[in-house]
């Protein structure tokens, strides 16, 4: 192995300093703009800071955290977020795999359709929220009209607490399936052909090939796409804020929306910081669980060692 090591990263006279110099701006920015606020927020979470009552703050230890554990509204929003994330990510994953298989047939014209499908992920999330809110209007909305054409009774969409969560999940699926589709399609189209030819000669059915060849070979790509989506879905704010602001009846009160309310409606910044930290820990746990279950680190390491 020394040969590859030396070919990749040579040690040359006087160059250690260059590397440090090149790293310096990034390290400074990350420390000043990244690490410091983070630690500051950790400190705030141990105080009762609330600027509406003046700038004075008391150190109150873990009281915010103790309170958070009894805050039903917070855990409700965590639950909503988990449901939202799980549903949205799994639906868009399935859709993306199906779309990738379909578009991998590469009939003439599919390239253009594929490009059109990518557009939703590029639309500003606030604009996505606005557009869907227009389309989902119960009385004037085009969705109820279209459903009426094929005989489906009109729905209240985001206006009713029973369908609101489903509605925002639909919007998230619409916006982010293209993202997963883009990645998984790239994965599918770069798969080697020979295993499939061998399987065809062995008499495998298309379904068999999909289960035994396509899916296992796609696993790294699927895992990476899913992980990126989980992290992003967990902090979804823009679309939900524009469509429902967490309502009706807190049916779509995801954690970002709830935190925004605590922080910038009630200005309970000490408590808000504590909740932020709890959220961060929950995200980490979810991600670590996912990483553990899928062997993500091993996939990454394999890629690095190629």
């Amino acid at each position: 192995m020394p040969k590859t090591q030396s070919a990749d990263k040579a040690q040359r006279a006087g160059e250690g300093k260059i590397a440090t110099l090149l790293m310096a701006p990034t390290v400074i920015v990350m420390t000043v703009v990244g690490l410091y606020p983070l630690l500051h927020s950790l400190y705030l979470s141990l105080t009762n800071y609330n600027p509406t009552y003046g700038d004075a703050k008391e150190f109150i230890g873990l009281a915010n955290y103790v309170y958070a554990f009894e805050d039903g509204q917070f855990w409700h929003s965590i639950l909503i977020t988990l449901i939202f994330t799980a549903a949205s990510v799994s639906i868009s994953l399935v859709l993306a795999v199906l779309l990738s298989l379909l578009f991998n047939l590469r009939f003439p014209g599919f390239m253009i359709l594929r490009t059109v499908i990518l557009i939703p992920m590029l639309i500003t999330p606030v604009a996505v929220g606005i557009t869907w809110r227009i389309m989902m209007m119960p009385d004037l909305g085009v969705l109820n009209y279209l459903m009426g054409l094929i005989g489906i009774p009109p729905a209240l969409w985001a206006g009713s607490s029973s369908t609101a969560l489903l509605s925002v999940i639909l919007v998230d699926v619409w916006q982010w399936t293209p993202f997963m589709f883009l990645i998984i399609y790239a994965g599918i189209s770069s798969l080697p052909k020979t295993p499939f030819e061998a399987a065809a000669i062995d008499g495998a059915s298309p379904w068999r090939m999909f289960v035994s060849l396509t899916l296992p070979m796609l696993k790294p790509v699927i895992v990476i796409a899913t992980l990126l989506r989980i992290v992003d879905a967990f902090r979804t704010y823009d679309t939900i804020y524009t469509i429902t602001r967490g309502g009706p009846d807190f049916a779509t009160d995801v954690v970002s929306v709830y935190l925004q309310r605590v922080n910038f409606r009630f200005f309970d910044l000490g408590y808000g910081s504590a909740l932020s930290w709890l959220t961060l820990i929950i995200v980490l746990v979810v991600v670590l669980l996912f990483v553990r279950l899928t062997g993500f680190m091993k996939l990454v390491a394999d890629k690095e060692n190629r």
């Binding site: 020394p2 040969k3 090591q5 030396s6 070919a7 040579a10 040690q11 040359r12 006279a13 006087g14």
Partner: protein, 356 residues
Amino acid sequence: MGIQIKNLVKRFGSLTVVNDISVDIKDGEFFTLLGSSGCGKTTTLRMIAGLETPSEGKVFIHGKDVTYAEPRHRDIAMAFQDYGLYPNMSVFENIEFPLKIRKMPEAERRKKVEETAGTLGIGDYLGRKPAQMSGGQRQRVSLARALVRNPKVFLMDEPLSNLDAKLRAVMRTEIRRLVTEQGITTVYVTHDQIEAMSMADRIAVMYKGDMVQVAPPLEIYDRPATRFVADFIGSPPMNLFSAELSKGGRVVCQIQEFGQALDETERHRATQMADQHGHFSVGVRPEHLQCVAAGTAGSAEAIVELVEPLGQTTNIYLLSGDQRYIVVTDRTTVEAGDTIGVIAPREHVRAVARDR
């Protein structure tokens, strides 16, 4: 003047890749570093080039200490295994690049590039991009880029290993001719013994970071210093038989008849190279062993396991006791299963040191 390497050491972490090597490469010499992958030959070359800083030791080029000089201040040229061509530049621009960096006037540059490209037979491809060329053509571009500067020192890192066998043979003679004509001091890294044998003035065989033998090709072939060298050079390789020097200076060999064939000089060498237990090896090249009728005086008895006719020569695989070895002869009537005698001619039996 050439290149001097003094007590060069390179460590990566706890791993010692090059272990205290010293060598004097003469002006205009074609010097080859030969060894299997991971033996430290490429690292040694990269330290001469300045692409790697030695952990210890010094490198001199033309008498100047360049151990810590940047590559650009060493006045060297280099050819890489994967050619290292600039993919975004045309062939012309690739060859022109070192001249441009040196701020040579444009008219002169054009003349030199065309001249060098002509010598290497790529004059017609100057407008192409590297991606539009075959491996052999790309290697010619990389050679042209190196030679266009009239370098005094040319370093080559396995330049032929990505080419097919036929092209390799052509390029071998061509490279040798070019650098000899221009009197360039060349250090050539390869794992291919045929390249080393056919091109080099001197070969340095490297093994686990050590230079185990530095000598002209035929000397390396005839008198390999260690088992590794004996085994690495020649195809099929030298037959090696474990041997031991007893207290009285007697040689005990796995195949006693071969051990007794050592002449005075080799016996003397054996006493010098044997380890503290008196162990060494007796080596005979396959083409030097002679097959005779079983029971001939001075012959070792052997059973023929397999006969492999190759047309020009024939490989006979033999078994004496539990020792397998090979004889290369002309065409033969010997068949598998026969019992024959094998004679090792006195002038071809060598003492070979064990590896450290």
